[in-house]
């Protein structure tokens, strides 16, 4: 069916002249980089649908129980939500700069920006868990301890407000879980870069981690208005 003609650049994977960063299933470094880049984009498409199932349920119940969702949204503190948005956008910015710096080969700058990104991520989680703690104290945790006051409900039925809070906890919780994974990933990247394992030529691991981090940011960009900013009359 075909001739066994050596493909330029191909060769025995164990031949001595191969780039050590090139994994043996690939023929050249561009192919390896393209593959990991495309791979992470497919993974992000998967993630879109993973969150998408939640978004779909959210949309359905928001339409059915709009008053409850308005009341529920008013239980959240908008300024904290806005603060978290700013923090997370900032972390995306530093992440982009980290990728930029690795392209230029500025190793220490990369580590600095990665650490900044991690710190902003941790700050985000800090605010998030403060908020969770507040809800716990106010007895507004669905299923476990849900005892809203009449003032909390503002005329909506308790179950519709509980449903809203379910979505609040599930969606932000799942998002926070992704943040934690991302922080771990970035910490590993920072270490690898510090010890010179990631260089300007083979920067794809940093780039891939960056794509994941930006994706988590995008999820929050939608969660913020969907959860914190529901306005409108309650009929």
């Amino acid at each position: 069916m075909s001739d066994t003609v050596a493909f330029p650049g191909a060769g025995n994977p164990h031949a001595g002249n191969r780039n050590p960063a090139l994994q043996e299933q690939f023929e050249h470094i561009e192919q390896q980089r393209d593959a990991s880049n495309f791979g992470i984009w497919i993974f992000l498409a998967t993630e879109i649908l993973f969150f998408g199932g939640l978004f779909t349920t959210y949309i359905v119940y928001r339409m059915i129980y709009f008053p409850g969702f308005v009341s529920g949204s008013h239980l959240l503190e908008r300024h904290l939500g806005a603060l978290m948005t700013f923090v997370l956008l900032g972390s995306s910015f530093t992440m982009a700069l980290a990728v930029h710096s690795i392209r230029l080969g500025k190793r220490k700058l990369v580590v600095l920006f990665l650490i900044l990104t991690i710190l902003l991520g941790v700050a985000f989680l800090g605010v998030k868990f403060t908020e969770y703690y507040g809800k716990w104290n106010e007895h507004l945790v669905p299923g476990i301890d849900f005892h809203p006051s009449a003032n909390d409900l503002q005329g909506a039925t308790p179950q519709s407000v509980e449903l809203f809070l379910c979505f609040y906890f599930f969606m932000t919780g799942l998002h926070a879980l992704h943040m934690i994974v991302g922080i771990g990933l970035l910490a590993v990247m920072a270490l690898l870069t510090w010890y010179g394992k990631i260089t300007a030529e083979h920067y794809n691991r940093i780039e891939v981690s960056g794509l994941y981090w930006h994706f988590v940011d995008i999820i929050w960009i939608y969660l913020f208005p969907l959860l914190y900013l529901i306005t409108g009359n309650r009929h």
Partner: protein, 104 residues
């Protein structure tokens, strides 16, 4: 085989502008929440969120500079999410419609 295309290095200036635009949009969407515009609150919030998403995806995630495959993957993800939402709502919305029982 893979396309051999070195990706351009995006200048920091562009990242900075995008970041500032994101901050302005985030402030804007928060501000709009304090005005009651009825259904438009939701529409504006989603419009701004989509703008922010595009900024992050096109510049921070380099979709603007990428060859087709990454764009295809992201668009496919969004398209399939659209399928899920649209067909589910197609049922939820029309459950209370009652057919009049006449054959066509």
């Amino acid at each position: 085989m893979a396309e051999l295309h070195p990706e351009p290095i995006v200048p920091v200036r562009i990242y900075t502008w995008v970041f500032l635009a994101l901050l302005v949009l985030a402030a804007l969407t928060t501000a709009f929440a304090y005005v009651d515009l009825g259904i438009f609150n939701t529409l504006i919030a989603m419009l701004i969120a989509t703008c922010k998403m595009l900024l992050v995806a096109l510049f921070f995630m380099h979709l603007r500079y990428k060859a087709g495959l990454s764009r295809v993957a992201s668009i496919v993800g969004l398209f399939w999410l659209g399928l899920l939402v649209v067909f589910t709502l197609a049922d939820v919305f029309t459950r209370n419609w009652t057919p009049q029982g006449k054959p066509w």
